[in-house]
């Protein structure tokens, strides 16, 4: 039995088929990348798994439990955390309070929640910004706060939507390091949407490619970049020649 099984997901937005019969599995402890051109249905697929969209048909099983059609808070309680591509820049709560909301997912006690939030912040080297509001921080730190918030809910599977977009190469390097560490030290399975090929290739153990809502390829990063369909749909001839 797989850790996460996605079977024949179909999501149709009134004629625009965002996901068409997508199936795949993820094993515990893996790092899996999800790539594809803009509008390929990557975020929709995420939303179908997490529960922001209810798939028209298909089935999502997480750790042996059918989670199809669960609300996002239910999938979160079942152990799936996610971050957002666009983090709302909010002014109402400090970084620490944001992360505390995450830890409140698993406890009712404020001091426990605070302790765990501080622990997560320390782990991600965010101690220094804990009393800032999100709108006061640069985008790389904002992303990290989003990650910290999701981590505080103690997910077994963490789904990251473009966690590295808009970051500079040094920051990307840091994120790659961080994700590897989360995966190896905390045993969190990672599933990430990413546009930056450099990062996908470095961090993922396996890559799934979507195009026009359909899965066109799946395999090791080294094989994926040589796959003709993927080159045609997404990478382009130039990228392939550059290898």
């Amino acid at each position: 039995m797989s850790f996460l099984t996605v079977e024949n997901i179909v999501k149709d937005f009134g004629g625009l088929v965002a996901n068409n019969n997508v199936s795949f599995t993820i094993e515990e402890g893996e790092i899996v990348g999800l790539i594809g051109p803009n509008g390929a249905g990557k975020t929709t697929l995420f939303n179908c798994i997490v529960g922001y969209h209810r798939p028209d048909s298909g089935k999502v099983t997480f750790r042996g439990k059918d989670v199809t059609g669960f609300r996002p808070f239910e999938t979160n309680r079942a152990g799936i955390g996610r971050t957002f591509q666009i983090m709302k820049v909010t002014t109402g709560m400090t970084v620490l309070e944001n992360v505390m909301v995450g830890s409140f997912c698993r406890t009712n006690n404020r001091n426990t929640a605070r302790g765990e939030a501080l622990h997560v912040l320390g782990d991600l080297a965010l101690d220094a910004v804990k009393d800032y509001y999100i709108n006061e921080l640069p985008i790389a730190i904002q992303r990290k706060v989003g990650l910290a918030r999701a981590l505080a809910t103690k997910p077994a599977l963490l789904m990251l939507d473009e966690v590295a977009s808009g970051l500079n190469p040094t920051e990307i390097e840091e994120v790659v390091e961080l994700l590897r560490r989360l995966n190896s030290a905390k045993k969190i399975t990672l599933f990430l949407i990413e546009h930056i090929m450099e990062m996908v290739m470095k961090v993922s153990q396996r890559v799934i490619v979507l195009d026009y809502g359909e899965k066109i390829a799946e395999g090791l990063p080294a094989d994926i970049v040589k796959d003709e369909n993927v080159i045609k749909a997404y990478l382009g001839e130039k990228y392939a020649q550059g290898l």
Binding site: F73, N98, V101, A113
Partner: protein, 332 residues
């Protein structure tokens, strides 16, 4: 035990705020002895009552960020429960008020459940509608006195069972006690799990849901807490005025005043509703008696409130308290 400690612990506020609270409390306790006239005492009682209402509204409206404009129906439920049980079965205040709270909470769950399918303006409109419908029902329901309302049977002074007194000083201390219970409760609430979750919902609903928060359930809970607060105030109004009718307890203007006071003072802050009430209750009195009474310009006060709402939401959504905090930050 820990909850009680949280409720009484104001240590995360600045020194100035804590000193302010002490001075304010001393003033509240001493007020009946400074020899103010009966008019000022009435205004003070109104101020404490509306602070109580505002603090209740602050749970769902301030921390939860839901524009809720139907609180008057719970004032009505609270006051009618107390009044009717006293008239029909001679039930003492201390029994009927908790029953009023229970009815208000039960009712808030029933209408909160469908209500919180709606968001934003639609939610605000729906809250107004539910409140108006209840007022119309009571306006035409003969059993509960219809539009002419009901008078409470008068008891000898002082009656601590039915909470009826000749002197306003008793009522003053009574509402002050309720005010402090509300203040301590809110001080706990803002640090509670629900408080944090509501603030997250206000900031970003999608993110809140991804963090394991059942948004709708959280909102319903906060809405019920707000309703319970307001029902207590309604119960007080019944024994204080000794006469209630739908117009004084369920009017739309009451709902708007409750929301406006909290918003003007500063939604989602502990002091906001108190500051708002301190500002608006005297203004309300003045506008009502001067413009409405002497100048014959009834309704002008509502235009002024409407303008206030617009100014607050456009320039400083965090109200008077937001302005104070801005100045404080600049000072550093």
């Amino acid at each position: 035990m820990e909850k009680l400690k949280d409720a009484l612990d104001f240590s995360d506020f600045s020194k100035a705020e804590r000193i302010g609270l002490v001075i304010f409390s001393v003033f509240l306790f001493a007020f009946p002895w400074i020899g103010a006239g009966s008019f000022t005492t009435t205004v003070m009682i109104q101020f404490l009552l509306f602070s109580l209402f505002g603090m209740g509204w602050n749970t769902i409206g301030g921390y939860g960020g839901q524009v809720e404009l139907g609180k008057a129906q719970y004032v009505g439920i609270g006051s009618y429960t107390v009044a009717l049980m006293m008239v029909w079965w001679k039930v003492p205040f201390w029994v009927s008020m908790p029953i009023g709270i229970l009815i208000a909470v039960g009712y808030s769950f029933i209408i909160g459940y469908p209500l919180f399918r709606l968001k934003g303006h639609y939610f605000a409109i729906a809250t107004i509608c539910t409140s108006l419908v209840l007022k119309d029902i009571f306006d035409n329901w003969n059993l509960v006195g219809a539009a002419k309302g009901i008078e409470l049977p008068i008891h000898d002074h002082p009656d601590f069972l039915y909470m009826q007194f000749k002197s306003d000083t008793y009522y003053y201390y009574f509402i002050m006690a309720l005010f402090y219970i509300a203040l301590f409760y809110m001080n706990w609430f803002r640090k509670s799990k629900l408080g944090y979750q509501l603030r997250m919902i206000k900031d970003d609903e999608d993110a809140a849901e991804s963090l394991g928060i059942d948004i709708r359930w959280c909102k319903i809970k906060a809405y019920s807490i707000a309703s319970a607060f307001v029902a207590v105030g309604g119960g007080f109004m019944a024994v204080y005025n000794l006469y209630i009718d739908p117009a004084s307890t369920m009017e739309l203007s009451l709902s708007i005043k409750i929301a406006l006071m909290a918003m003007l003072g500063g939604a989602a802050s502990l002091w906001g509703p108190i500051i708002g009430a301190a500002f608006l209750v005297p203004l309300d009195r003045f506008l009502g008696s001067w413009l409405g009474g002497q100048k014959g310009l009834t309704g002008i006060d509502f235009m002024i409130y409407a303008a206030l709402i617009m100014i607050v939401s456009a320039y400083q959504p965090r109200g008077i308290w937001g302005i104070i905090e801005q100045f404080r930050k600049r000072g550093h």
